[in-house]
């Protein structure tokens, strides 16, 4: 009846996951009670859960990412604590089985359910606004994509309470991940969760490539798009070309595990090297899927806070697309030691180093954007400078690793762990925190507290360096990654420093929450009245904060590379806004519960597949299919926002803008 799901699945003998599950359950229950007492369920349902508004969906993605960041970080600091304790005779507080689950969960969660939703959240929120349009190409599909990602995240977290998670590392390499060596549900949780969220990610890519290539404001030609849109385009093209390979390779592993195939097994003609190749054909572009939008965020910040147009806009576009293409030609550098031969290793090693060239172009562009500018040292600029310092070192150690002989020495060592944390934290996480500060006022109408924001930055910056710099040395000395127990007592001081670093990052995460709560409490003192708090240059700052559902009453006409800046400067010079346009009613997509219901059935089906409850799996599939059919036969597609409402809102915005304009004109 319930497949292999029995009461034994609940880890009664392991206090850590059990207590954590209880705490999480209590917290969720508390939030649910609070929402009920505030009578906020209808608001949540109408404004967020069923929303097809790209801004709301973007916010939901980022909330998901922040929540999962806490989970991923908890895994991280548990590993650091274990490594700081379990030295010499001490075995620490985590058994090897548990420790292996933790590092697997940490990697899987941080990449798939923190970095990805965070980046996709920004693309959702920002891209249509920057392109000067009202929504993405497929708003309902956008909602479905989000809920499928959330469904994947749910399945991964469920493994904490029911059963176990994979003990294989975040890419589940066979033969370890085959049934022979991992008979439990852990790898199945991993596979099913990634397949479900992967569907959402591919749909997101279809949505955004279509949006960016086909839906832009009049006059917004390709070479007038803000760099963040370019990087979002490149990133989504990479998703479109890379994620199907992940789907295939995980499906093949599922066939091995569920139906006794021999794709990657040790026996029966299986070939685990095929898995290495396929997973990294996806895995390397994945790095750029994350870091390219991060580069886009830095580009927006560099230009805005330096009060200058971005230096070398076209070279930035060219560099982005070059990285997009070369990122598909370097995957083998993840397994130089596999034995592909010297020539092949050399080709991939050189290709990997070549990626440093367009990346270097970008670094110089940001530096020259800041050079000679009136740089305002707000929180995002701290992250920008911190990024450039950190990322360049991470990039250089990457060039070092791209030399096959060097890689043979430090392969799978803590040197590698230090390298990729340096590029991902220094490159991606810093950008996400910067973007969070930068676009928060656009989303909610008030800015975040600057002092606490700077404190958070210093926590991340100092914490990161303490937590990972010693790893370079340890890696050189022969410390391999994923060690539950440290044999060499002379490494103890370094591991202690690393633990302190992780704790400082933890303080930063706590301060992020404090900053959010404090900023909400004092929001009346930090209102963004004009919709343009940073003296912005791109179209998202043209509309009010938060923007109306339809973003723009009339799609803006774009002139020149910096659509909003040109418009703003003309208005300041003339001391008047452009003539009031002829408003028309606006047609917007209606809300739909399709996404959340599909995700519910996907979660049920996924859970059933993991536990071999076949009748429930079929039921889940039928449910998901039925909701699609129901949706396809809907009668009502859009609702019309009447012209009076549009006009009233637009006039209010013009009034606010006029006041602001007079202040500006008087001050200059």
């Amino acid at each position: 009846m319930f497949g292999r799901l029995t009461l034994a699945a609940i880890p009664f003998d392991q206090p850590i996951p059990l207590i954590t599950s209880l705490v999480v359950a209590l917290a969720l229950g508390g939030v649910a009670i609070w929402i009920t007492r505030m009578k906020a369920w209808p608001y949540l349902w109408n404004e967020y859960i069923t929303s097809t508004d790209h801004k709301k969906i973007g916010i939901m993605y980022i909330v998901l990412a922040l929540v999962m960041l806490v989970r991923g970080f908890a895994d991280g600091i548990m590993m650091r604590a274990q490594q700081a304790i379990a030295i010499g005779p001490s075995q620490g507080y985590l058994t090897p089985e548990h420790y292996n689950q933790i590092f697997t969960a940490h990697g899987t969660i941080m990449i798939f359910f923190v970095a990805m939703p965070f980046v996709i959240g920004f693309m959702n929120f920002v891209v249509p606004l920057q392109l000067g349009v009202r929504d993405v190409a497929f708003p309902t599909m956008n909602n479905v994509s989000f809920w499928l990602s959330a469904s994947g995240a749910l399945l991964v977290n469920l493994s904490l309470f029911l059963g176990e998670f994979a003990r294989t590392g975040w890419l589940a390499f066979p033969p370890l991940s085959e049934t022979q060596f991992s008979p439990g549900v852990g790898v199945d949780y991993y596979l099913v969760a990634l397949q479900v969220s992967g569907v959402g990610t591919v749909l997101t890519a279809v949505n955004f490539v279509t949006t960016i290539l086909k839906i832009r404001a009049p006059g917004m030609s390709y070479l007038r798009m803000p760099i963040f849109c370019w990087t979002a385009l490149a990133s989504n093209l990479l998703i479109l070309a890379a994620f199907p390979v992940l789907t295939v390779v995980l499906a093949e592993l599922m066939l091995d595990r569920y139906l006794g195939f021999h794709f990657f097994t040790n026996d029966g003609g299986g070939n685990s090297m095929l898995y290495m190749n396929l997973i990294w054909v996806w895995g390397h572009p994945e790095v750029y899927i994350l870091v390219l939008p991060a580069f886009g965020i830095y580009s927006e910040i560099a230009a805005t806070f330096s009060g200058k147009p971005l230096f070398g806009y076209r070279s930035m576009v060219f560099a982005t697309l070059t990285i997009c293409i070369i990122s598909f030609m370097v995957w083998l550098h993840h397994f130089f030691t596999m034995g592909a031969g010297g020539d092949i290793n050399a080709v991939f090693g050189i290709a990997s180093m070549v990626i440093g060239v367009p990346t270097g172009v970008k670094i110089y562009n940001w530096l020259f954007t800041m050079y000679g500018g009136r740089v305002r040292f707000n929180v995002p600029v701290y992250y920008l400078i911190g990024f450039m310092l950190t990322f360049v070192v991470g990039g250089l150690t990457g060039v070092l690793l791209a030399i096959p002989p060097v890689d043979f020495v430090v392969h799978n060592s803590l040197f590698l762990v230090a390298h990729f944390h340096q590029v991902i934290i220094g490159g991606v996480v810093f950008a996400l925190m910067a973007g969070y500060t930068y676009w928060f006022p656009k989303a909610f109408g008030f800015t975040l507290d600057e002092r606490l924001g700077k404190a958070v930055f210093w926590c991340w910056f100092i914490g990161f360096h303490l937590a990972f710099m010693p790893s370079y040395l340890l890696g050189f000395w022969g410390a391999t990654r994923r060690m539950q127990h440290i044999p060499d007592p002379s490494w103890a001081p370094f591991l202690a420093v690393e633990f302190v670093g992780a704790a400082i990052i933890g303080l930063g995460i706590v301060l992020t929450v404090v900053q959010l709560l404090y900023s909400i409490k004092t929001r009346d003192q930090r209102r963004d009245v004009t919709g343009d708090p940073w003296d912005g240059r791109t179209l998202e700052w043209l509309t009010l904060s938060p923007p109306p559902h339809y973003n723009f009453a009339v799609l803006p006409d774009v002139h020149g590379e910096e659509a909003y800046w040109t418009r703003k400067q003309t208005a300041i010079k003339m001391d008047q806004l452009i003539a009031e346009p002829d408003y028309k009613p606006i047609e917007m997509p209606i809300n739909t519960p399709t996404g959340v219901i599909v995700a519910f059935f996907a979660s049920v089906c996924g859970f059933a597949i993991i536990w071999y409850i076949w009748w429930l799996a079929i039921l889940g599939l039928i449910g998901a299919f039925a909701i699609f059919v129901w949706y396809a036969w809907r009668d009502e597609h859009e609702h019309i926002i009447p012209v009076d409402e549009v006009r009233a809102n637009a006039r209010e915005r013009r009034r606010i803008r006029m006041e602001h304009l007079h202040e500006l004109s008087q001050s200059t």
């Binding site: 839906i215 009049p218 295939v248 070939n271």
Partner: protein, 93 residues
């Protein structure tokens, strides 16, 4: 789609040509097939990964018979010709 809606922006007909190289959002009839074909593109990549797996493992039969031994070319041809005939005659009809 209503005619008044066709004039008002996102995915509802083109706005005027501004002479700036881009005329605003494309119509639904352009956007929807475009998205569909992008999805098909991702499907092609999916199949390329399947073909790569096939190419790698085609002879990895652990000592068992290969595809060609199980299904000899003559056998395939004998099965294929009637199918082709039927298909082509169906096409003529």
């Amino acid at each position: 789609m209503t005619t008044e809606a066709a004039t008002i922006g996102l995915t509802h007909g083109r706005s005027e040509d501004t002479g700036l190289g881009h005329r605003g959002p494309e119509s639904k009839s352009i956007v929807v097939p475009y998205g569909f074909w992008l999805f098909v593109l991702s499907d092609m990549v999916l199949f390329s990964a399947l073909f790569a797996s096939y190419g790698t493992l085609v002879n990895a039969t652990d000592g068992g018979p290969t595809t060609h031994q199980l299904f000899p070319a003559t056998w395939l041809r004998s099965r294929r010709s009637p199918c082709c005939c039927r298909a082509s005659s169906a096409a003529w009809r």
